[in-house]
């Protein structure tokens, strides 16, 4: 006699809160379903290509989140089966972004009630499925001794109703009613926009990212396109279309006190051409490689399938680490997207990576080869001798400015002067080294003047006597001397930043106006 297994509601906990790392992943699941449905609607010519629209509406006062699309919708006969059965999606693994039929349940964990409303084209009914999430969650609360049977719980806490509507409408709408207190992030439109801009299949913002067209055209010449939807986020106060966050100019993260400006000079593609055998394609921004990009929304190459993110930059960071443990950091020196186009690469259930079966190991191998080349470039650029020209001159300019400023207001002590001399010498060495290894005449021409300026400033520094200038005329010799000595003491006991602060404050009081504004 075979045993009829009992599947308890605890399983739901695993499928909801246990499944995703970020509560907002719930929205990604909804959007993925919406995008699949829009794709089908486009194929069936219900809407023209590109007319797909998803609206995410947040109402913080009423604690409601709604996601609505104009895709094909679900015919009323199929509604109960498709929305209340678990793990039985009708979608195809190869074609659709979501296929396991569990994603939409994630919402159960974060709201009081989950409502689905939908209508398919050609039918004059709107179906509504209501799930009482409070009720279902109670069945797997740990205080409860008795565990309910999963099917029973879902049957007990859900209902399906229908109402008439006009035949032409086709939509799917999911509403999370009563967002729970512990997940306020669902009602924070900026957080939601930031998340969706990185994850959802949205367009590049061509006004901010001038290479948007180039990427699209490059893909187009191989008969491909990047599938996109129009995604609108709405609250009672705002209405915005969500775009990918890429732009053409960034800063680097502060390194040794310096933050560099970084232009995306071009975009590069890999492989060079897309063939029918290609399993992926990617673009990345060409920069001077000045350091880690200071914008977590874009830093690091990321994986996408059907233009929906698979995991964050960490997935690609891991590939850099496979080249060498310490290379992981180099992923954030780049921006770019890796679009997996092979239907045989299957995202895992969490959608933060790919299943280690099928084609993925092969793609990964090829990606590691690509990543290795990027890591080497970044590594070379990070070395002292091969520092990018802009990095060399930014650093030299910083020291020159500092010394000029100090010379203008006067040097407090011999020690301060020696310290500055040391910094100038260090910088001269860096610049000389850089010049030695430059082959490009253009670069040499750019850098050379800075060496001259450093030499010049070194000379004036050497010849300058430790004496503060431009004291207010009402100060006597003794007073001036005391001030100078106080500064000398401060130089001894304070670190550089604090000393500069103290010196500026003291001189602001005792020097004449013009040098204050001049410095």
């Amino acid at each position: 006699m075979s045993h009829k297994p009992f599947i308890g509601t605890y399983v739901l906990e695993t499928l909801t809160t246990g499944m995703y790392t970020n509560p907002l992943d719930t929205l990604r699941e909804f959007i993925q379903n919406a995008a699949d449905s829009i794709r089908t609607a486009e194929e069936e010519h219900l809407i023209r290509e590109g007319a797909g629209r998803i609206e995410v509406t947040l109402n913080p006062t009423e604690r409601i989140v709604k996601v609505r699309d104009n895709g094909v919708g679900i015919p009323s006969q199929e509604v109960a089966n498709r929305l209340l059965n678990i793990g039985t999606s009708t979608k195809t693994i190869e074609k659709d972004a979501g296929f396991r039929g569990i994603g939409r349940l994630a919402g159960i964990a974060y709201c009081k009630a989950l409502h689905f409303r939908t209508s398919a084209v050609g039918e004059n009914t709107t179906s509504e499925v209501k799930i009482d999430c409070d009720g279902i969650r109670n069945t797997f609360s740990p205080e409860l001794r008795q565990v309910s049977r999963l099917e029973e719980a879902i049957a007990n806490y859900s209902s399906v109703t229908r109402e008439p509507c006009d035949t032409d409408s086709h939509f799917f709408e999911v509403t999370m009613n009563g967002i729970l207190e512990q997940v306020p992030i669902f009602l924070n439109w900026r957080a939601v926009e930031g998340y969706l801009s990185q994850v959802a299949p949205v367009k590049y913002d061509a006004q901010r990212f001038i290479f948007a067209t180039k990427i699209q055209e490059w893909v187009k010449q191989y008969g491909l396109s990047i599938p996109t939807v129009t995604l609108i986020i709405k609250t009672p106060e705002i209405e915005r279309e969500v775009f990918k966050p890429y732009k053409s100019r960034y800063g680097t993260r502060r390194s040794k006190g310096i933050k560099y400006e970084l232009d995306i000079e071009d975009v590069c593609f890999y492989p060079e051409v897309i063939t029918p055998e290609s399993t992926f394609w990617l673009w990345y921004g060409k920069t001077q490689l000045l350091g880690m990009i200071d914008d977590t929304m874009v830093a690091g190459l990321r994986l996408r399938k059907n233009n929906i993110a698979i995991g964050g930059p960490d997935r690609v960071r891991e590939l850099f680490e496979e080249v060498s443990r310490s290379y992981g950091r180099f992923n954030s020196w780049y921006i770019g997207e890796i679009h997996i186009i092979s239907p045989h690469a299957i995202p895992n259930a969490r959608r933060d990576g790919f299943e280690d079966t099928g084609i993925w190991p092969e793609i990964k191998k090829e990606l590691i080869g690509f990543v290795e080349a990027r890591a080497k470039e970044a590594y070379t650029a990070s070395g002292a001798r091969n520092q990018p020209t802009q990095k060399v001159i930014t650093s030299a300019k910083r020291v020159i400015d500092k010394v000029e400023k100090t010379l203008a207001i006067g040097i407090a002590s011999a020690k301060e002067r020696d310290n500055l001399l040391k910094q100038v010498d260090q910088e001269r060495k860096r610049v000389t080294d850089a010049l030695k290894h430059r082959k490009n005449q253009e670069d040499v021409k750019t850098i050379e003047p800075y060496l001259e300026r450093l030499n010049k400033i070194r000379a004036s520094l050497k010849n300058s006597k430790p004496r503060l200038k431009k004291f207010r005329s009402d100060l006597g010799r003794k007073q001036r001397k005391v001030i100078s000595e106080v500064l000398e003491v401060l130089f001894e006991v304070l670190d550089e930043v604090n000393f500069e602060k103290a010196k500026a404050a003291i001189l602001a009081r005792f020097q004449v106006e013009e040098s204050k504004t001049g410095s």
């Binding site: 900026r190 926009e193 913002d205 006004q207 901010r208 129009t230 609108i232 009672p236 106060e237 705002i238 209405e239 915005r240 279309e241 732009k247």
Partner: protein, 456 residues
Amino acid sequence: MSNILLVEPDYRAKFPPLGLMKISAYHKARGDTVTFVRGKVPEFRDIPWHRVYVSSLFTYELPRTIETIKYYSSAVANPHDIFVGGIAATLFPQYIRARVECTVVEGLLDKPDMLGAGTPPIANIVPDYSILGAVNWQYKPDNAYFCRATKGCIRKCKFCAVPKLEPEFDYCDSLSKQIREAAARYGERQNLVLLDNNILAASRLKEIIAEIRNAGFGIGDKLNGKERTVDFNQGIDARLISEKVAQLLATIPLSPVRLAFDYDEMETPYRQAIERLAHVGFTKFTNYVMFNFDDTPLSFYYRLRTNIELSEKLGVSITGFPMRYIPINSVKRQYISKAWNWRYLRGIQCILLATHGLVSPNPDFFDAAFGSSFEEFLEIITMPDRYIIHRNRYKDNEAAEWRGLYRKLSKAEREEFLRVLAKLHWSNNRKTEMLQHKKFRDLLEHYYPGGKVPKT
């Protein structure tokens, strides 16, 4: 598609920003998303917008407008993606251009390419009323259509900005069309506000009035059980009110009737207009009374008093609505014309504080608030702010004492005293400066007890 941010600087605005509302309607029709905000909001500055529109209104609010433009300049890819337009931007564009990089749009949006190459004229587009709900600000009136049948004005009054804002007198889209489209798109509204500068100058006046009636604004017409009203908000020109025009106006529920009594020379046509309008049955008037231009305090008092007198004589109610003149290019509110002084203007401001700027036609109120004679009027507006504002609280003690001291001053001393008051008001060193005016010591103590500004 683009993300558009519409910004109204957070100055006190009574009417909704119609220019921004039209821009909203235009962008929404293009499929763009539109967000409307008042003032400087950090969460809107920190995110990218494809274009930001900033409206402007009073020139004396230009400094605040500039600040708002600068505030949002980091939110666009290029500073010229910030478009600044509206009244102040039209009157004083060079003030903005000299201070901040942006695109200044002058005048009405009635020509192509004003919002960028290839953009259509949008002056006649139906304004998008739906954006107003997004901000925490109560525009008034909040349930009205805002329309206009004409633009420009046939007069060229020296004190008026209209000749510069809208140099040509011309017609807009038909009112029936404007009202019909607004109702269809944004729902029916209770009342109708017409923003025409001089609607009576229209040779098609008869047709315009008929259109108003046919749009559901005839005498006795109701919506949701309430009678509907029509407001020619910018006032009607007394000189153009013939008996025939008065009869024509009587066919629509004008409420209130607004005329202007801006200077003495207007008296004859003004009186005649009110008589004609009263004759055809109008009883409620709210009339603009300009001061601080070429007028004198005496003229101002006289014009206000005329309203009281006419109200009694004709059995109507004429509320005065004093309007303080500020030159059309002034970026400050402190302008003082030749016949006026700081204390007098301030005194009038204090009287009007309690009445939302209105002067009631009730003679008892008028005598108490403005004085029963011109001398008393001058005395009242010379008093310390709090004695004016809280008339009843102070009248028997402090104000009486003040009056005793003030009345002892000679004419020349009173003039000097007014100058001293103005000087002290702007002084950074008031307490010390007060000591220099020994002659007025006791009087000044009423204004600045112990050298400090008292609470009002």
